[in-house]
Every structure is written in C-alpha cells, then in structure tokens.
C-alpha cells in the first residue's frame, strides 16, 4: 500500500483534529496508537494498491468525526455520581420543601397584609421559583465539589452502611400513632384564644383593682386588632387539625404535610409581627401612662428578640418535620 502525498495530508489533518479532542493525559501516545491502527487498516483494505486523495477522504468519512472518535477516550463523568445521588436527592428534597414552605408562608402573609394583587401573587411565585432554582444549583455545585475532592471510598451509598435490625421494622405502613396530648392541648389553647379575642375581646388589656375600684387600660393597638382575623384563622385551623388528629389517631403523609402548612402560617404571622414592631402593635402611651415606662422599655427590647427566637424555632421545627417525612417510621407499633 502506498499513500499519495494528498492522501497523507488528509490523514494528517484527520489525526490532528482527533488529537485536538483527545484528553491531555496520554494524548501523544493515543494519537500514535490510532495512527498505527489506521495504517494497519488501510494496508489491509488497499494491500498493493495506492491510496489517493479521494479514497482517503472516503475512508476518513467512514471512520466518523474526530470529535466522536476522541470522545471514547474521555472518562464518563457525572455532576453527581450514582453513589452520591441518593444522599443528594434526600438533602435536596428536604431543603427545597422547607424553602418552599418558608418562602410561600412569609411572602403570602406579607402580601395579605399589604393587599392582594395579581402582580403581587405573580411576584411571589416568580421569586419562589427563582429561589428554588438557585438553591438547587448551589446544592448541585456543593455536591459536585464534595464528591470531587473527598476520597471515593467515603462516598458509598449511605443506605449501604445503615445499621438496622429487623425488629425495628414497623408493624404497619407509614402512619404512626399520634400522641394525644399534643392535639388535645392545641385544641384547648386555640379554643381559649379564639374565645378571648372574640367574646371577651373588650376585656383584653390591663385590669387594675385598687380596693373596690376597677380600672381597665387597653393594651392592644388598632394595628394589632387588624391582625386578629389572621390569628383567628390560624387558631381555627389548629382546632380543625387537632380534631382531625384526635379522630384519626395516626399520622399519615397528608396530616404531616398539613402540620407543615400550619407551621408555615405561624411563621408568616411571626414575620409580620416582627416587621410591624412593638410600638405599632401595642399602646405604648397608655402603658407609660400607668407608670410602666421601665416595663415598656424592657418589652421594646425583648419583643423582637422573642419573636426572632420564635421564627428560628418555627423554622427549625419545619426542618425537623420535613426531615421526618423522609425517615422510616420509628419503632414497633403497639
């Protein structure tokens, strides 16, 4: 077999293009081996003939694109390899669920307070979707970096290493027993709160009894009273939910999601309280008039701290409940 100068030039062009797409590591060696292979192949096809430009072009055309040919030398890579994927899916599921609940709850209640508009709703949805996409992207980057820089042996499927005992398998499917104390307390407290802010709303304030005289000073401002329907709605939901729990006696997925939704509404209300502020919600002047200036100044500092703690606690509770959705039900049913 003899290659004409043109044929040789086309072969060189092909090999050069191929070399361009080969991995840097071992590129020269791979290219040399491919050249050796192609020469063997050409020799068998054309034996004693001469290979001209046309024949070479036809041969190279049949070989396929250099990029595709070089691609087989590249290791298969994945942003998140299969061994890491179950953990990624669990973490992403929990984080995105919590984020959705927190964002929707806080923004919706804020919107409700400011007045619901079509554009407002659209803005909330767009911001929520955007935040979710961002978070997912950040999680992908974090997991990519973790699996890239941590040794491969540390990335076994976490489920493989899970220590379990057959005795811990629950006797029944997903739902587990409801501890009656919690919904009972929720029911009673919510009922009392509704009663206080509806039937006895005029009595909410500071009552002073000096001898036989009784004086009453209102404590809550009109701004607070404007938020009361929202509180009543939350307590109403709590009552309904508690009754449902007491009747059903078992947690189901829908009840767990309902519980999460309730906490989301609480979170939104707390955020609204924090934004409105102590001085707007309470009749500070009236309190000062009673000679409680020192108490008022302490409450002014304490109020945002307590509400912030409440917000943090609620978020922690939402995270805990969201994680629980992914867990196996605990222990054996009795």
């Amino acid at each position: 077999m003899k290659l004409t100068a043109d044929a040789k030039s086309w072969l060189e062009r092909y090999e050069r293009a191929l070399g361009h797409h080969l991995p840097l590591k071992g590129r020269k060696d791979i290219r040399r081996e491919i050249h050796s292979h192609l020469m063997d192949d050409l020799e068998e096809r054309y034996a004693d003939k001469s290979v001209n430009e046309e024949a070479m072009k036809e041969y190279l055309q049949d070989l396929g694109s250099p990029r595709r040919k070089a691609a087989v030398y590249r290791e298969e890579t994945a942003l998140i390899p299969p061994a890491v994927f179950p953990l990624f899916r669990m973490v992403a599921g929990i984080v995105l669920l919590v984020l959705t609940i927190v964002l929707l709850a806080t923004q919706t209640i804020e919107l409700a307070a400011e007045g619901i508009t079509f554009l407002g709703v659209l803005k909330i949805l767009a911001e929520t979707v955007s935040a979710l996409v961002h978070t997912l992207g950040i999680l992908v980057i974090i997991f990519y970096l973790l699996q890239k820089f941590l040794p491969e042996e540390d990335w076994q499927d976490p489920l493989d290493d899970e220590i379990w005992k057959v005795e811990t398998l629950p006797a029944r499917e997903y739902p587990s027993r409801v501890k009656l104390g919690d919904p009972a307390a929720g029911l009673i407290l919510s009922f009392l709160a509704i009663l206080l802010f509806t039937v006895f709303s005029s009595q909410v304030g500071i009552h002073q009894f000096t001898g036989k005289t009784h004086s009453f000073t209102p404590l809550l401002s009109p701004a607070f009273w404007s938020l009361v329907p929202l509180l009543l709605f939350r307590w109403g939901l709590e009552m309904g939910f508690s009754i449902l729990l007491i009747v059903q006696r078992r947690w189901s997925l829908s009840l767990r999601l309902g519980d999460l939704a309730l906490r989301a509404v609480s979170l939104g209300i707390l955020v609204l309280f924090l934004r409105t502020g102590f001085s707007t919600l309470f009749l500070v002047e009236e309190l000062n008039g009673l000679g409680l200036e020192s108490l008022t100044s302490i409450l002014k500092i304490l109020f945002p701290v307590l509400i912030s703690l409440g917000i943090l606690g609620t978020v922690a509770e939402i995270i805990k409940k969201a994680i629980a959705l992914y867990r196996e039900p605990e222990g054996q049913e009795k």
Binding site: R32, E33, S36, D40, Y73
Partner: protein
C-alpha cells in the same frame, strides 16, 4: 362518519405499529449490547495471554466470530493498563511502531478467576435456557 373513522384509524394504527416495532428493536438492541458488554472483557483477556497489538487483537477476535470495534478496544486497554491488568510496550515492526499488549501477572490471575466464574455461569444458564 364511518368513512372519517376509517381514514383516521388506518394511518394511526400503521404509525403505531411502526413506532412500537422501533421501540421493540431499540429495547432488544439495548439488551444485546448489555449482554455483549458483560462478556467483552473476558473475550479480550482470553487473547492477551499472547502478545497482541490492537489491530491484530481485533482481527483475531473477529476470526473467532467476536466483533469488537477499535473505539471500544483501545480505551479498554488503556484503562486496564492503568489498573495493572495488562502491560504494554512499543515495538518497531515492518517500518511502523506498534504497541503490544500482554496480560500482567495480576491480569492472568484475573483471567483465570473470570474463566472459572464464566464456567459456573455458563452451566447454570445452560440449565436455565434448556
């Protein structure tokens, strides 16, 4: 109405059958591909007790009825060399350098192990496929 149904139904059915047959073929192809991939390593190892360069290896396997493309073989040999399964060296022959591969000691051990596993599997499958 009946005429309309006739015109609507026949082409749809024809397309559906053609589509389903393509799907069926692609599923079959995937199964065959997986089956081949599973035994490919053993087939290549079986020829590497003797020294071979890539092209001669492909031709020898081809003569025995086992088809293997260059795009599959060379990356496989490179990976095996990194794993210590094969050893290679460039030799100058017929005015052209060629890279010769041969099983390393570890590769030979691996081959014997795989051969014995294959024997068991072959017997079991032979019984299952009767």
């Amino acid at each position: 109405m009946a005429e309309e149904e006739f015109y609507l139904t026949i082409p749809c059915a024809t397309h559906y059958i053609a589509y389903m047959s393509t799907v069926k073929r692609s599923i079959q192809d995937k199964f065959i591909q997986e089956l081949n991939r599973g035994v490919m390593g053993l087939a290549v190892l079986s020829r590497l007790q003797e020294e071979h360069y890539g092209y001669s290896l492909i031709k020898e396997l081809e003569q025995e009825g086992y088809l293997l493309s260059q795009d599959t073989l060379y990356p496989l040999l490179r990976r095996w060399e990194e794993q210590g399964v094969v050893e290679s060296q460039w030799k100058m022959e017929e005015s052209r350098p060629r890279r010769y591969y041969r099983l390393s000691d570890g590769g030979l051990e691996l081959y014997e192990k795989l051969k014995s596993e294959w024997g068991v599997l072959n017997t079991t499958l032979g019984r299952l496929l009767k």
